[in-house]
Amino acid sequence: MKSFFKKVGIILSLLLVAVGLAGCGNKAVNKSNVYQHVKKTNTIIWGVRNDTPLFGLVDPKTGSLQGFEIDLARALTKEILGPSGKYELFQVSAKTKIPVLKNGNIDVLLATCTITPDRAKVVDFSKPYFGAGQSLLVPKTSKLRSIKDLNKPGTKVLAVKGTTAIANIQKVAPKAKLLEYDDYGQCFSALQSGQGVAMSTDNGILAGIAANNPKYHVVGGSFTTEPYGIAVDKGQTQMKNAINKAFAKLKVNGTYDRLLKKWFANVPGFNYKEVEK
């Protein structure tokens, strides 16, 4: 028995030492210049969504990614690197998107990422490319009409880990209970299974889900503004400038408008002009 306690004691103290060292040690974030790197390899690795209708979604028929952001990534690559430029699409979830950008696994993040002051502390954002607003998705049979209806104890609202929806709900409807999931698919499945009364995230995403699921609709208007930005790691100013420049070009030559229309013009109850930036 004595040796047992000794063993546990030694291991736990070793662990504490290791943790202490890890805490003091500097973080080995990839500090090289991303712009130089993508120029050299002629490839940009984009972090994109795969569970978000209209923005970035895997199509079971072909197994490939489709959506507004996928097309935008493709167009931006051609602007930044020229016609021979290559791109790789790295699928991220809402929870993993910032960490994989920070640790250097991807070059650029183009994944329904709202520009917020908190995030701007850890990553650099381009100019906004999409003006979303947070809204609610409920079954058509539901009596819920606005975000205020959620502010009751015991009301369960569903959201996705790592999205801005969480802080917004906590602010506007502090009494509601939040349940968080790993992706939009799981979150919406939970809504269908009656785990909560409403699902909350940006209107563009919700409109995409509602378009595929006629028993559900978007209510409550948009009670926040959620400008989406393209993110690069903190300090990658050259890359950020290149993205801003390329994006400005896409606006001038009409590509941006064409892509917006392609994905959002036919979504019921959604005015694509409102989200244009």
Partner: protein, 220 residues
């Protein structure tokens, strides 16, 4: 009923099979690598090389007492932070190998320890060196004895690949989730079919184990 027929359309089934293939790929690679590493680590722990055995022991004990989910996060977020870019496939395989090697090391150590001491003494008194006795007498016996434990660990590994949905590995469960997230009526049919697929995969593996066990028992 219509839901079930629609859910199992040719495109959906093909998509699921693609997921199943990723599951099998990750499983096979992880089983092979973790078995080799586990065997080495377990033997090191058993033979008590100064310091090395102790260090290996501590690392193995820490890893096998953590949830696999956590180790998947560490490889997915941690490796790039060390300058190694990974895709979900590599992160998942690395996590599987690290975790399963630690689990297997413990099985191997216990398996070797279960071989009667007389065997080693007998081999040594017949003029074999320690290493010879270990590789020719002890390990073969130990391996035959630990086959059931090894195999149930491999079955666990196959099942555990489903946890890698969290880092967007396009395996079976993840592909099912993509299909039913686009049509909610497919939830039940999807879970039914992937349960059957996992069952067949794991059940075949355990049958294979039983067969191997009888075959190997005759060899040694």
């Amino acid at each position: 009923m219509q839901n079930w027929i629609n859910a199992y359309s040719a495109t959906n089934l093909r998509f699921l099979l693609q997921g199943l293939w990723v599951t099998i790929e990750v499983s096979v690679i992880s089983i092979l690598l973790s078995f080799i590493i586990g065997l080495i680590l377990g033997t090191i722990r058993y033979v008590r090389i100064k310091y090395l055995s102790k260090i290996v022991g501590v690392i193995v004990d820490v890893i096998r007492n953590l949830p696999l989910l956590l180790i998947i996060f560490f490889t997915y977020f941690g490796l790039p932070a060390m300058g190694i870019r990974v895709n979900p496939m590599i992160a998942a395989i690395t996590a599987m190998v690290v975790f399963e090697a630690a689990m297997l090391a413990e099985i191997v150590r216990a398996g070797i320890a279960a071989v009667p001491k007389g065997q080693m003494e007998g081999a040594r008194s017949n003029g074999m060196t320690y290493t010879q006795a270990l590789f020719h007498i002890i390990l073969p016996q130990a391996l035959t004895m630990m086959i059931p434990a090894l195999l149930s660990q491999f079955v666990s590994l196959v099942k555990d690949t489903s946890l890698a949905t969290i880092i967007v590995l396009p395996e079976l469960l993840y592909h099912a989730q993509i299909i039913y997230s686009q049509d909610p009526n497919y939830i039940i049919p999807m879970y039914a079919i992937i349960a059957v697929m996992y069952f067949i995969l794991c059940f075949c593996l355990s049958r294979l184990a039983k067969y191997l066990q009888t075959r190997l028992a005759n060899v040694f």
